[in-house]
Symmetry: D2
Subunit: 340 residues, 4 copies
C-alpha cells in the first residue's frame, strides 16, 4: 500500500523518537519545568525573532479551545472563515467554551481583510449590536484547510484591521511547517510571531507523536494561563513528552527539513498528476493536493493507494485528496505516479 | 541523587518505550481506530472480567473532568472527600465544567458509606433542597491521596448507598496499579469494573509516558462520548500514542509487574524507616510513604535524596513523602536506608 | 405621537394590571407555589388540551436558554433558521450555554421540513460526523421573526422529521397570541402542545409586564427543571408576579382578545398601506407589517409616528416596520392612514 | 393568620404599586432606556455619594451570578463564608458559571478580614498553587444570612485585605434596607459604594415586586456588561418594570421608611420575646429574629402565626425565625406578643 492519506498516519520522525528514547531514563521535574521543555521554548522563541511566551500542548483542538476560551470575554465571539477548523470539525469546542464562531465566506479557505473590515463596520453600525455577540478575535489558519497560504501582504492587512478595532489575531498553524517550506510562501515564523497575538506551531502533523507549540506575543498571555491549562485537563504531568519532541524538532533545522521533504514530494506528485491530466480542484502550494478524479479511477486506485475521498463533484467525478509528509519517499511518489 | 520524589519523574517503562519505537514507522488509522488501541481495549476488558467500554485519555484531571462533566446534569454535583484530588488540586476543573464538588470529611483519605448515606438522607430531608446542588455522583480514589485503600467491603457498602439513591460511583485510579499489587488489597480490577459505574486505570504514574484507561460499566457510557472527548480537546489525533502504551502495559502482565516492584521497594523502605525510628504519619500500604521527620534531618537528607516535604507538624518535625515506582531499584532503597 | 414601534412600549393590559393591584396585599407562598401560579398553570394546561407541564419565566431569551440548555447534551446543537432569534439577537445566550446554533437557510423566516431532513441525512452520512456538533433539537418560532406562520401541515411535517431522528421540536412563541388570532392561522394552542416537545406562550409582548409560559409535553420536562431555573437565576422569589399575570391573561379569553385587537388593527393598517400604494416587503399575516417606503417619506413620517426602520433596500427606498398591539386603537390606525 | 414568615410574602409597597399603575399606559423605550430607569439610576447614584454605575436586575441569585461570572476569569473562584447564600442556596449558580466558591468558616455569618488574609497568605505560600483555584473575589452579605451586620471598621479591614491582593470586594445586599435602618448600623449606602467594587441594593425583599439595583464603583463595570446581561437572559424587555419600582423606592425616602418600619417592628417583637423568656439563638439587630423555642410551643403557635422552623436544637427545643417587613403593623406584633 502507498500512503497518501494524511500527514498523521505514521509515528514521530525518527530523530524525535530517538530523543524520547535517549531521555527516557532521566529523572526530570514534571508539569513542564524540565530542561527539555525550557530549551524547546528557548529555541522556538529564537525562531520567532527572540520574543514570545511558549506553551506546549498536545493537540490542535485543545490549543484553539484554550486560546479562544481564555482570551475572549463572555460576550465575545471569534470571526473565522466558514471553512475554518473551529467552525466545523472541532465538535463545537468553541461553543462548549461559551463562544460563538462568527463565520464569514471564504476565498480558497482564506478570510480577506476587507471582509473582516466590512463585518466589523456593519456590526458597530447596527443599532442593536448590544444584543449580539461582539466580535472579539480573528481566527485564521496558515496554511488553511485547503492548503492555501496567506501572503505577507494579506496577513499585514488583517493585522491592520485587527489593530483598528483592537481585537487579537490568532493563527492555527497545525501544518505551519508545510507553509514555511513552500517556495511560494513569504511569511516567516518571525512574521507570524510579530503579526499575530498568538499562533501555534503544529507538531502532531509535522513529525511529532503529539504536540503543538503555542506562542503568545509578549504581554498577550492570559492571566494565570498555566492554571487555565491545568483546569482544562491539558497540562501533561510528564511535560517532557512534548518538551523532548519540540526540542528535537527545533534542533539542527529538523522542523524545516520535515516541511521541505513533504513539499518537494507534493511538487513531484503535482507534476505526475498534471501530466496525467488531472485538474487541481483548489490550487494549493502545500502538502495537501485536491484533484478531480473520475469515480471509477478512484475506486480502482484506492486498492493500492491510501488517499482520501473529499466530495462528489458531479455524476462521474469526485474530488480526492493526497497528502505528503516527512515520511513520504520520492519512490512512493514515483510509484503513485505510475498508477495514475 | 536518589529519586523518591514521585512516580512520574522518569519516562516510560522500557517495554512501553520499546513498543512505541517498534510501531513507529507503521501507517495506522488515527483517532483511536488503530489496532493497538483496539487490542489494548480488548486486553483491559479481559482484565475487567470481560465487559466494559474503554477509552484512552492522556491525563487524570482530563479524565475526571470528562467523566464528571458528561455524566452529571447541570443541577448535579459530585460528592468527594475533602481531600479528593478533584476538590483541591485540579484547578477547579469540575467547577469549570459547571459542577460543585460536595465535600465530606475523610477518614485517612477515604469516604465512608455511612457518611455518604447520611449526607444523602439529610439532603432530601431538607425542605429547600430544590434550591441546592443535587448530589449526582460519588467520587473516590483507589488508592486515595494518602495512599490508603478501600477494602472490598467498603467498596460494596458505597455501591449499596449509590444503588439506593440511583447515583453513579466513579473511582479515580491514577495509581491503581499500586493498589492492585498490595498484599493488603482485596479489590481486584474486575471488582472495580463491577462495583463502579466508571473508573480509570492510571498509566502516567504507572509506567506510561502519558495515558489513562477509562472503563465504563456496560451501558453506562454517556451518549456520543467520543464526540465529547473531541469537544474537550482530549482526542489524540495519533491515538496510537496511548494505544501502543496500554497494549504494552497489558501484555505479559507488565502492569502488575510494575506495581509489584514499587510495592516491594516501598515495603523494604518502610522497614528501613521503621528500624531507624521514623513513625508513619498516615499508615499507607501502597507506594507512597508519609513519615514524620525532624526538620534538621530533612534539610540534610534532601542534599542526597529527592523526596517531598508534605507539611509542618510541629516546631521541630515535619511530614515528608517518599514514593517508589517501576524505576526504583532495590539498591536505591538500600542506599537510602543507609542515609536515614 | 402615534405608536407603531413595537408591541412592548406600553405596560400591561389594564385587566392584568388590575389583577396585580387586587392581589398585592395578600400574603402568598413564594417561588411559584402561590395559588395564582397554580391556577394559571391549570388554565394554560386546559388551553393546551388538558396536558403539559407549565413553568412561568420572565423573558424570551431566558426561556430559550433554559430549554435548550437543559434539553441538549454537551455534544448537541440546535437547528434554527439563520434568521431565528437565537441565532442573532440573543447575544450568544445559546453558545454561552455551550451549544452551537446550526443555522439553515430560511423561507420567509421559516424552516422547511425538507431542509431539516436533508441536513440530518447529510450529517449522519458524513464519515467524520463524530467530530462535529450533533443536531439535537429543532427550534422554530410561531410566528417567525418576519411575522409569518407555519401551517398545521408544515408543523406536522417538521414533527415527522423530528420523530424519525428522535430529536425534540421546540417553538418560540414570543408573539404566539398574534398567530392564534390570525384568520389565516390553522394551528391551535393544543396543536402546539401536541406537536412540540416544548413551546412557550409569550406574555411580555402580548399584554403582560413580563412573563412567558413555558409548556413541556408530558414526560419531556428535564430532570429537576425547577432547580435548573434557580441555578440560572431565573426563579422569581415572588412568583406571584408572573402567576397573577398569566392567571389574568387566561381568564375570560383575555389572551385571545388581546391578539384579535392587534390583528384587526394590523389588517386595517394593511388596507391603508395598500391603498396608499405601499408594497409589503414580506407578506406577514400577523401584527408586524414590513413595507417598502421611500426614504424621504420615512424621514417625514417619523416626526409624527413612532415606527421602525428595518433596512435599506436601494438608493431611494427602505424597509420599515409597523407593529400593532393590545393598546393600538382603531382611531390610531385611522390617524396613521391619513398620514401615509 | 399573623404573617412573620418572610419579607417576601406580600406584593409591592403600595407606593411602588401606584407608580406602576400610573405609568402603565405610557409608551416608553424598552431594555432599560426609559426615563424611569434613568431617573432611578440617578437617584441611586446620589444615595451612593454621587458616583457609580447602576444596573437593574430581577433577583438576587441572578445578580450574584452576573457579577461573579463577569468579574472573575476562568481560573478564579470567590471567597465566601460557608454560610453565604452563594455557597448553599443558589443551586450551584456560581459553579454553573464555572467558578468555585472558596468557603471559609464564619463568625455569626460574617467573614473576618483576618481569616481572608490568612487564606490569601497560605494560598500564595503553597508551592502548588498554580494547580488550585485562585481567589479572585471576596463575597459578603450586608446583612448576613443570620441578619448580622458588618461594622464600618470590619468592612474597611476587608477592603484593605482586598487592596493588598488586588481582588474585588462584592456585597450582596438582598436585605440592605434593613441594615441601613438599624440603629446599630454605622455603614451608610455611600460607604458601601466606596468600599465595595460592587454591591446590590435589594428590592424584592424590601418593598418591590421584583428587582435588585446593582452598583459598580466607577471604572469597575465589566466590559459590555449590558450584553452579558442579555446573554444570561436577564435583560427585561420592559425595563420599566424595575425602573418604575426603583424610582419609587428612591423617591421621598421610601426605601429608608420601609426599612425603619421593619426594624421598629422587629425591635418591638424582640421585646415581647425577651419578656416571654425566649433566648435569641443568634443575636441579630435586623429584621430577622432567630430564637430558641420549645417544640410543643412551635407546634401550637404555628396554627395562628406563619413563621419559620429553622433547625432542631435538642430533643425539646428548636430554632425558629420571625421576619418583619414594610407590611408588618404594630398591631400584628402586639397580637403575636400576646400569643408567645
Amino acid at each position: 500500500m502507498l500512503w497518501f492519506e494524511s500527514d498523521y498516519t505514521v509515528g514521530a520522525h525518527p530523530a524525535v523518537m530517538d530523543a524520547l528514547v535517549r531521555s527516557n531514563a532521566e529523572n526530570l521535574p514534571s508539569y513542564g519545568a524540565d530542561p527539555y521543555t525550557l530549551r524547546a521554548a528557548e529555541k522556538i522563541r529564537a525562531a520567532c525573532g527572540g520574543e514570545g511566551e511558549v506553551f506546549l500542548l498536545t493537540g490542535g483542538t485543545q490549543t484553539n479551545m484554550l486560546v479562544i476560551g481564555s482570551v475572549l470575554r463572555a460576550h465575545e465571539g471569534v470571526i473565522a472563515a466558514e471553512t475554518g477548523h473551529i467552525a466545523s470539525h472541532e465538535a463545537g469546542a468553541i461553543e462548549h467554551a461559551g463562544h460563538k464562531v462568527l463565520t464569514l465566506p471564504h476565498r480558497e479557505g482564506k478570510l480577506s481583510a476587507d471582509a473582516v473590515k466590512r463585518y466589523l463596520e456593519d456590526f458597530y453600525a447596527d443599532p442593536v449590536y448590544t444584543h449580539m455577540v461582539h466580535p472579539g478575535m480573528v481566527y485564521i489558519s496558515q496554511p488553511t484547510e485547503y492548503g492555501t497560504l496567506y501572503s505577507l501582504a494579506e496577513l499585514k492587512a488583517l493585522r491592520e484591521v485587527c489593530d483598528r478595532w483592537s481585537i487579537p489575531l490568532y493563527a492555527d498553524g497545525a501544518r505551519l511547517g508545510y507553509a514555511l517550506a513552500c517556495p511560494e510562501n513569504d511569511v516567516s515564523m518571525a512574521d507570524m510571531a510579530r503579526l499575530c497575538d498568538a499562533f501555534y506551531i503544529g507538531g502532531t502533523k509535522v513529525g511529532a507523536l503529539c504536540g503543538e507549540a503555542l506562542v503568545f506575543r509578549p504581554g498577550r498571555v492570559p492571566a494565570a494561563f498555566r492554571t487555565y491549562i491545568k483546569q482544562e485537563g491539558a497540562l501533561l504531568c510528564k511535560g517532557r513528552l512534548t518538551g523532548v519532541q519540540f526540542d528535537a524538532l527545533f534542533t539542527d533545522g529538523l522542523y524545516g527539513e520535515i516541511g521541505r521533504n513533504a513539499i518537494s514530494c507534493a511538487a513531484a506528485l503535482r507534476g505526475y498528476l498534471s501530466r496525467a491530466g488531472y485538474r487541481e480542484h483548489i490550487a494549493s502550494p502545500t502538502n495537501q493536493i485536491f484533484v478531480v478524479m473520475p469515480r471509477a479511477k478512484y475506486d480502482s486506485l484506492r486498492k493500492e493507494v491510501a488517499f482520501s475521498f473529499w466530495e462528489n463533484l458531479d455524476a462521474e467525478n469526485c474530488v480526492v485528496r493526497f497528502v505528503t509528509s516527512w515520511a513520504t519517499r520520492p519512490e512512493d511518489v514515483e510509484a503513485l505516479g505510475k498508477l495514475l
